[in-house]
């Protein structure tokens, strides 16, 4: 392994034992970043990076982050799905680093859906 290593990793291990895992345990919300070829090509990794950075900067510990494959809506990527508490999942489309931070703060933390970024809100109207 490289130079930056084992002694430091041991210190980190002790810190990590006291903090929450990004992937496991209970959280009040879960954000799933879609990471198929289409998502990756249109910026999913940058969205994920921005999300994790924002969580770090704000010390947010109770939002779980995970990834999934293509959802079949490639032209709407990058997309994420947010599940807040026991409410229905919401898909957000055409995201970037700024939009995902707003979704984190408003939906995942406060439970308020960010309607302008949601893929669809409401139902069809009869003409």
């Amino acid at each position: 392994m490289a130079k930056l290593t084992i002694a430091e990793l041991r210190k980190i291990r002790e810190q990590a034992k006291r903090s929450r895992n990004l992937r496991e345990g209970e959280g009040k919300a879960r954000i799933t970043v879609h990471m198929g070829t289409c998502g990756i090509a249109s910026g999913a990794r940058e969205v994920m990076d921005a999300l994790l950075t924002a969580m770090d900067e704000r010390g947010i510990r109770d939002v779980l982050v995970t990834t999934s494959g293509c959802a079949g809506l490639c032209s709407h990527e990058p997309m994420v799905t947010v599940e807040y508490a026991n409410t229905a999942p919401v898909k957000y489309a055409k995201l970037d680093g700024d939009k995902i931070v707003r979704i984190l703060l408003e939906h995942a933390m406060e439970g308020r859906i960010v309607k302008e970024y949601a893929l669809a809100v409401g139902s069809e109207k009869m003409s």
Binding site: L4, A16, S19, R45, T66
Partner: protein
Amino acid sequence: MKELALHILDIVENSIRAGSSFVQIAVIENPAEDQLIITISDDGCGMDAKMLEQAIDPFFTTKDVRSVGMGLSLFRQAAERAGGNMRVVSQPGSGTRVEASFKHSHIDRQPLGDMASTITMILLANPRIDLVYRHCLADDEFVFDTRAIRSVLDGVSVTSREVIQFISRMIKERQNLD
């Protein structure tokens, strides 16, 4: 894809969906011979000859949410555009190995890009897999191995925030040396 690291992320996602528990990524840069080789090997379910032939066809996919599968064909196109090629070796039950070569100095070769981000995304999405990332530049070799990390962690997950940050710094430190 803007960078080779994104292709690597995408190909490894295929490995994960093929049930892999151990994935090896090698990036071998040899400027003296004007060559860059990327190899991704996994221990997933593998493919038979027919499926292997279909795998690089952009209009073939194993998924049912859509009818196209672009990952391998995009990677092959990236290699061919930069004076190289791509081949896939696989057998049912014996995993799959994807190897792409590029002319190192080719103007159309994408940059390697942010491997720290690619590796940490793979781990966050798949906390239980083991991953070896080897980057060689001429005679200089860097190896990142989750098995070595886990042996120190004493049960702490590799996806703990502090560990992910450590891994990211470690790989970025390497890239800055290049």
